[in-house]
Symmetry: C2
Subunit: 258 residues, 2 copies
């Protein structure tokens, strides 16, 4: 478990989103590049449990935490993914405190929740002192709410007030749709929501996250406001950016024959 | 078949190298980014025929050509890969004309070579007029020699003089090792070799290629000297570059907690 140790020590953590690549060695690339964590996108991507299993196995040696964005909060995701070594979840489209309460219920062992006790991967194949182990694990599971609707912004105190919610982050594009400024992710209305959510997070002691598709000035805005769970997404953007830049560069030279 | 049509029309073609990603959708990312072709690296990568099969299937619709860099010239690679729709080969570490003659023998149907006639993927699941079809296909298979040793530079006229060799490209790092300037890929000795090879290619009517790991000034050098098969590599570099830049950017802001 890597992520909450860093966060509890007051550090910022930098991550990315995986939606295209499933070669487990990508975790080693990310670790070498200095990344603290990555999120496997099961809301918009086709990842299987077996693929995530392999990504986690490589990540454990690389020292990078793996989170998953799940498309819905249910036991089939939460129980299995935690038991194959995923450190926590990004919960998209949160609209009510109930969604976060359900996440905590499924993700934490009793008495905090109702997670079932497994072994193997999740105990590092060792015998454990169960009372100690349960308490440690309950403290390590990381839960981050993704706020992308007006309703969630309005009810933000209730959502972030749920015990076990560690962090909050935004979904700029869905939020822009819901605010009637579709695609204008830098619209003032968006940033009004960000400010309101951050104010609530600060008051309730929830760690602030910030999501950007690789925009330095956006990232600066988030870091200046104290965001520590930083998300610089993602793999397809990286590939598209590198190749587009190469194609543009090549075509800029007079000898390139079009 | 996409690549030789463009080259025969006098166009430049831009490609990259795949060594990490095996999600077939990467072909669509590349096509959207304006890439003409990509090379699956079976010299240094773990790709299976089935993975290449899927990459080719998606690429056919996307309009991007797939080549493979094979670790050795033998029938198990050349026959199978062409028959699952690969357009041609990059042959690494070429040291003699014999290697290229063997490549042509395996890659071309009689009378040019001894390629066996298959159907299915390679005939687009159609019945074909075999005499016409054989002639067309023989003209479309693309063969590129990768020069990365002094011996090859010395024998370059013989290597590029083999009928069926379409293009030539370099392997800067192996060449630097062989020249005793290990890792100094911009050493004058390297560029002396490039000049000698290009002179031979121009004289023999072989298309010039140029390889760079994403360096614009290197690419400019190649394009200015008439290189048209451009290789801007690769997928791992793209991911590493995007994430490293993000991490560096985040750490540059005062609010980032290390």
């Amino acid at each position: 478990m890597f992520l909450k140790k860093k966060l509890n020590a007051g550090k910022s953590v930098m991550g990315t989103m995986l939606s295209l690549v499933y070669n487990p060695d990508v975790a080693r690339v990310f670790a070498e590049a200095g990344l603290d964590y990555f999120i496997v996108d099961c809301e918009h991507g086709a990842y299987t449990f077996r693929e995530i299993n392999s990504l986690v196995s490589v990540s454990k040696n690389a020292g990078t935490a793996v989170l998953v964005r799940i498309p819905q909060v249910d036991r089939a995701y939460v129980q299995v993914l935690l038991d194959i070594g995923v450190e926590g979840f990004m919960i998209p489209g949160v609209k009510s405190a109930e969604t976060m309460r359900e996440t905590v219920r499924l993700a934490k062992y009793p008495p905090m929740g109702e997670r079932g006790i497994g072994g193997g991967i999740v105990t590092d194949f060792q015998n454990v002192n169960l009372p100690e182990w349960i308490e440690e694990r309950n403290g390590e599971v990381f839960i981050m709410a993704q706020i992308e609707h007006r309703k969630a912004v309005e009810d933000i105190d209730a959502i972030l007030g749920v015990t076990g919610v560690d962090a909050v982050v935004f979904g700029p594009r869905d939020l822009s749709v819901d605010l009637g400024v579709t695609g204008q992710v830098n619209h003032p209305k968006i940033f009004e929501c960000y400010e309101k959510v951050y104010e609530s997070a600060d008051r309730l002691g929830v760690t602030k996250g910030f999501f950007t598709g690789g925009d330095a000035s956006e990232l600066k805005w988030g870091i200046e406001r104290g965001a520590r769970v930083l998300l610089w997404a993602g793999d397809a953007t990286a590939l598209m950016g590198f190749i587009s830049a190469g194609v543009k560069t090549a075509r800029s030279f007079p000898g390139y024959k079009t």
